[in-house]
């Protein structure tokens, strides 16, 4: 047992810190949000140069072949300053879906340019009313000559408003299949959904969209569902790391405020009732950190029960802890925390999105309790 980062991993964390400090502090996100710009291509390309977009992919597709710990290091760092580039959406969701379901030619054509930061990807699985069930797919794909025609609607696609290509699930006569839809393809319309955290999401309407068979990722059927479930677990593990970054930053900011803000002639941090609430936040952050470590190690587990158990436990910890931390932060800041101008509100809102993405608390409690490990343990 060992929870030490290797020297390479420590260096990666250091590089991420330098990047966020010099290139993307919270003010950058704030400016982009005000300008209505989701994220910037040159920054994405820079992340590609730094090798961050290659981290979880094997070397034969141009990846770095690292484990998920590296993904978590990057996601946590980006979370601390709310970097808006679509790291999780493109690398972890779109990228891992394409990696898992696609073949070598497809990897070459669509994964490689994402890895070097030229393009970005996304994953559209959610539909109106599907909540977090990846098999609740009403979108259909039917054979059309040598290709496919896809019809349906996908909502709340992280980076779906910007990605060149979007992995989409659709029901075929042989079960649910995965297809790579070009955002500018015929029969495809997309809109930007504005979201509470200011990062936005995509809505995709597919109206008999023609898709070549070269864009079919693997064979429709149970295998596609298993891949989707695994990809969402990767997403959840990454969300745990990003949420940890969000909450650590929130805690640090709150503790600093408690030391600086004076009322009744003393720092408000000298009031015991606030001290204890800050300690409660600290405890939550340490538990989230512990579970984020578990998630990043267990997400590769070959045993799907062990994997799902760990990921669901980590995601529940993220939801309960993250909500508590970001909401307490607003209270402990007082009026300033309610202004749009203050960063605590930005963290609070981002946390809400991470809480919901890839399955909320109730969903994961239920999944945890449905696994054979629950009744046996």
């Amino acid at each position: 047992m060992n929870f030490e980062l290797t020297s390479d991993q420590k260096m990666l964390a250091q590089t991420v810190r330098q990047f966020t400090k010099s290139k993307s502090p919270v003010e950058r996100f704030r400016k982009l949000r005000e300008a209505g710009v989701p994220w910037e291509r040159d920054v994405w390309a820079h992340m590609g140069e730094l090798g961050w977009l290659s981290v979880p992919f094997p070397e034969d597709v141009g990846g770095f072949g690292a484990g998920f710990v590296e993904v978590a290091i990057i996601a946590e760092g980006l979370g601390k300053t709310l970097v808006p580039e679509p790291f999780i959406a493109s690398v972890v969701l779109g990228g891992m879906a394409l990696l898992g379901a696609g073949n070598a030619a497809q990897h070459e054509q669509w994964l490689s340019p994402m890895i070097d930061g030229t393009t970005s990807l996304a994953l559209g699985y959610a539909e109106r009313g599907s909540r977090y069930d990846v098999s609740a797919v009403a979108t259909t794909a039917s054979r059309d000559g040598g290709g496919w025609k896809i019809s349906g609607e996908k909502i709340f696609i992280p980076n779906g408003h910007e990605a060149e290509n979007i992995v989409v699930s659709a029901r075929t006569p042989d079960g649910v299949g995965l297809f790579l839809v070009a955002a500018d393809g015929p029969g495809v319309t997309r809109d930007k959904i504005k979201t509470i955290d200011g990062q936005g999401a995509g809505r995709l309407r597919l109206d008999g969209a023609s898709i070549g068979d070269d864009r079919r990722l693997g064979d429709p059927g149970d295998g596609s569902i298993a891949i989707l479930e695994h990809v969402l677990d990767y997403g959840a593990a990454a969300a745990c790391a990003e949420g940890l970054g969000v909450c650590q930053a929130t805690l640090d900011m709150t503790v600093a405020h408690l030391k600086e803000r004076k009322q009744f002639d003393v720092p408000i941090g000298s009031f015991q009732v606030l001290q204890h609430r800050a300690v409660d936040m600290f405890v939550e952050v340490e538990l989230m950190r512990s579970m984020s470590i578990l998630a990043s190690l267990a997400v590769h587990d070959d045993d799907p029960v062990a994997r799902k158990r760990a990921i669901s436990a980590a995601k529940v910890t993220l939801s309960t802890g993250g909500r508590a931390v970001t909401r307490e932060s607003l209270q402990l800041h007082g009026g300033i925390g309610i202004t749009d101008e203050h960063d605590s509100g930005l963290y609070f809102k981002r946390m809400l999105v991470l809480d919901t993405l890839f399955g909320d608390e109730v969903h994961h409690v239920e999944r945890f309790a449905s696994l054979p490990s629950f009744a046996e343990g």
Binding site: M1, N2, F3, E4, L5, V69, V255, L258, K259, V266, P267, G269, S270, F271, Q272, Q275, H276, A278, V279, D280, F282, V283, E286, L287, M288, R289, S290, M291, I293, L294, S296, L297, A298, S312, A313, V316, T317, V362, V365, E366, F368, A369, F374, A375, G377
Partner: protein, 394 residues
């Protein structure tokens, strides 16, 4: 990063399980299975069995008669013992005064006391708290006046766990009332048979006399029984608190209780299904299991750090806080799951099923977890000051 235990550690875990399976006497196992309380004789019987195996003091170094275990082996042993529900050993000798004597005692004191702690021939209790000195321990008043080679002790200690059974008590006493309160305290060992010592048991809400009021009336104690220097007792006491803290995560104990709750829930019918399948109940149970999982991961982080020789990081301070809360909440849940069956109280055999007897007393005892060893409020004060760096409280 790597979450797995080494093959040697896994082998050791199996060895511990096999040992418990053969060495735990039948009658103790029967009590463990239904969470029945263990009287002191049971505890000491098990102490001696573990002593014979060489495992009674896993945290003691080899030269003091311990097994010289790594942090991981200690963790595994504790976890397996807790999971099996074996009698929890009295910590006062093994975990508190023993290590203090090792660190601050003279060679003579070490030879005199350590072997007897290890083999269980002498049992200990802790005389810190007083009626007027609880969380503010340094304000203690029980005094020791010099008289030649002796001290004469007068005063009262309270909440002294199992003082009625103890051969010795380690006390913090006031030796200099004229200085800053922490500076005038001495750590001293007192033979409970000395004339003038009187331990009066008190009934706890758990229904047994688990602690005492302990009175000292002109008790004569040789100066040779002082550990460390006269008036330097606060240093000894603080060092000892460090030993105590890591113990209190109670992960194994809580996992065992959780297992028991699931077992009961799986056997309790609601409609044509069971409580364990009922969505609200299983949600409640699953949430606590998840919290326990997070606590376990936090303990493993502390453990992995200890293996690398690192000082316990910030995560260690959360273990007592969360570990005690989760343990309490598990017993609350056990009570809820059992419904009326949880309400029976020390009935004669045959009136209610034996399996229902243990939960209610344990539920009551666990209320103490967040009070002793530095209450959870005091733990929060410590974290606020030393980890978050918040200003002195108003």
């Amino acid at each position: 990063m790597d979450l797995s235990f080494s093959p040697e550690d896994e082998t050791f875990r199996q060895e511990v399980r096999d040992f418990i399976a053969t060495a735990l006497p039948e009658d103790l196992k029967a009590k463990a299975d239904i969470d029945a309380p263990f009287p002191m004789e049971d505890t000491m019987r098990w102490h001696k069995i573990l002593y014979a195996k060489g495992w009674v003091a896993p945290q003691w170094p080899k030269k003091a008669g311990g097994p010289g275990f790594s942090a991981t082996k200690r963790f595994i042993l504790t976890e397996e013992l807790e999971l099996a529900g074996t009698p929890p050993l009295s910590p006062f000798g093994l975990v508190m005064v023993g290590p203090a004597i090792m660190q601050f005692g003279t060679p003579e004191q070490q030879q005199r006391f350590l072997p007897q702690i290890l083999n269980g021939e002498e049992t200990w209790c802790q005389g810190y708290s007083e009626p007027e000195a609880g969380s503010d321990l340094a304000s203690l008043r029980c005094k020791a006046d010099e008289d030649g080679d002796d001290f004469i002790i007068n005063g009262q200690k309270t909440w002294t766990t199992y003082a009625q059974y103890a051969d010795w008590i380690f006390c913090l006493v006031r030796t200099d009332p004229s200085v800053k309160k922490q500076a005038g305290i001495t750590f001293i060992l007192i033979d409970m048979k000395t004339p003038g010592v009187d331990a009066r048991p008190m009934l706890t809400i758990g229904g047994t006399p688990a602690f005492c009021d302990t009175f000292f009336d002109n008790v004569r104690v040789p100066k040779a029984n002082v550990i460390g220097k006269v008036n330097a007792g606060w240093t000894v006491a603080k060092a000892l608190l460090g030993h105590e803290r890591t113990l209190l995560a109670l992960v194994g104990n809580s996992r065992r209780t959780l297992r028991r709750i699931k077992h009961i829930a799986a056997e309790t019918a609601v409609g044509d299904s069971t409580l364990l399948e009922h969505s609200e109940w299983r949600g409640k149970i699953a949430r606590l299991e998840i919290e326990l999982e997070a606590l376990k991961m936090a303990s493993l982080r502390v453990l992995a750090g200890a293996e690398l020789g690192q000082a316990p990081g910030p995560e260690s301070s959360i273990l007592k806080l969360r570990g005690t809360e989760i343990n309490q909440r598990l017993y609350e849940l056990a009570m809820e799951v059992m419904g009326h069956d949880a309400l029976s109280w020390y009935n004669d055999a045959g009136v209610v099923p034996d399996a229902e007897q243990g939960i209610a007393p344990n539920f009551c005892y666990t209320r103490a977890n967040t009070i002793f060893g530095g209450s959870n409020e005091i733990q929060k004060n410590i974290i606020a000051k030393w980890i978050l760096g918040l200003p002195a409280s108003k």
